[in-house]
Symmetry: C2
Subunit: 298 residues, 2 copies
Amino acid sequence: MGLTRIALQIFEIVPNISEGGRAEVVDACVRSVENAGARVIHRTSDVVHNRSVITAVGSAAAVCDAGVALAGAALENIDLRAHRGVHPRIGALDVLPFVPLSEATMQQAVDLARECARRIWETHHIPSFFYAEAAATALRRSLAHVRSGQFEGLDTRFERPEWRPDVGDPRAHSSAGAIAIGARQILIAFNIELATGDLSVAKRLARAIRESNGGFRTLKALGLPLGEDVVQVSLNITDYCATPLARVVETVRVLARDAGTEIRRCELIGCIPLAAVKRAASFYLGAQIATIEKDIAT
Amino acid sequence: MGLTRIALQIFEIVPNISEGGRAEVVDACVRSVENAGARVIHRTSDVVHNRSVITAVGSAAAVCDAGVALAGAALENIDLRAHRGVHPRIGALDVLPFVPLSEATMQQAVDLARECARRIWETHHIPSFFYAEAAATALRRSLAHVRSGQFEGLDTRFERPEWRPDVGDPRAHSSAGAIAIGARQILIAFNIELATGDLSVAKRLARAIRESNGGFRTLKALGLPLGEDVVQVSLNITDYCATPLARVVETVRVLARDAGTEIRRCELIGCIPLAAVKRAASFYLGAQIATIEKDIAT
């Protein structure tokens, strides 16, 4: 065939920064990631969330360097004391997950997350919490938990022994706050906009579908305001095999109709595994989908 | 990044053989392709069509060898004089398209198709028509045209100067007929089953959507019987950008409803470009879809 298979030890990072409006700030942050040697494959910004999500891939060294560089770029450009947005956040660089792809292991991602946090502390003096697979205690596995109280509540929280940072002094950086750094499996972040301004509808729908209230497995969902006549169900799926994306979207469609509204548009944040796309296409087209690419590219 | 980009000159072949029932015959045909060094990435058989479609990829040498070997395996196992099926066919190995993938060119695919036909004639004494991009005359570009009259009408047709074979003597092989060998762009072959036994409905819907009757661009469609209470709209799309698959399926859904029936199931034959899958998923989910794989695998 003339095809050579290369061993790939690649990681994804999906940093979230607390800036969704000023394009020059987001550009500077994206550049810092690229200059460190990681490849940015997706970026998305939202003004109401006041938040951007960058998706980048690279070797262990590249994504770790990128995390440190990005923490610096965010620190330089974002002051959380003046930050407003509907999405919870504790830092200028707010969340930094390391995701093992292809032949990388979760343990390697955990090690990378911890090394990156140490280097950020040394370089920029911003403390970090380890979350998800990198968490040192059960309490810190949940990102929502780690971010509770947000930037404004950090110093109060640091006073409690169970909420000392994992890296750094127990004092939030005055402008950049703290960072949730972790390792996790690949995740689907998907937003569904509803054509209503009634936030209670989004919150009710989020409760109806999320795992913590007895809904779909591995699904986290949040109802958020987005505009005068639009609210959002913001969701994360960590196991798209247990809970296919199309099933969630179609359930929300029915629930929205029942609530007298409808889906206005949807939005994928970052990237999605190819297998999840095929599954969605198969569901809607009513046919098994096979692609040329899967078998010649891997 | 540690990623090396390899130049890939890869071709796809999508041979159709006139056997859809006897698994041991299809297995033997698939094995002949694999033993020649091509990688079989998909196979599908249909009893009513009495036809199987094999999708394989490989280097120029591998797919050309595979075509010759497969013509031999089909010849050994399939006798068209006893063959019945709803799908038009002229040969045991009925159609053999060469598709340029990645960095291969159409001219290379044309050259391969013609070389393969010559080698099949030398080895197995089966004549070939060149069709699509490999056609020597405008008349032979259309596969439907090349196959008109089917196996049973071959010898009568060969008597007419404009229908002499491109390779081989103007006499069909007694049991294996002739082969349509060509080169073409990648194509989506998709079947939509309707929950009715009324063939006229499938034919009417096919006419409504196909390009030749003023329907969707680059879409070919055929209404075929499939069972007592099921008919099929069988379609080919050669430019999925001009005519996205989801648009066709949803149009058929509406037309079927209007005709008092509905889509029972759909079926993809062979493989589909990843971009077409993403497009379908985006259409149905109402969101732009980006995958991790596109950017780390290429």
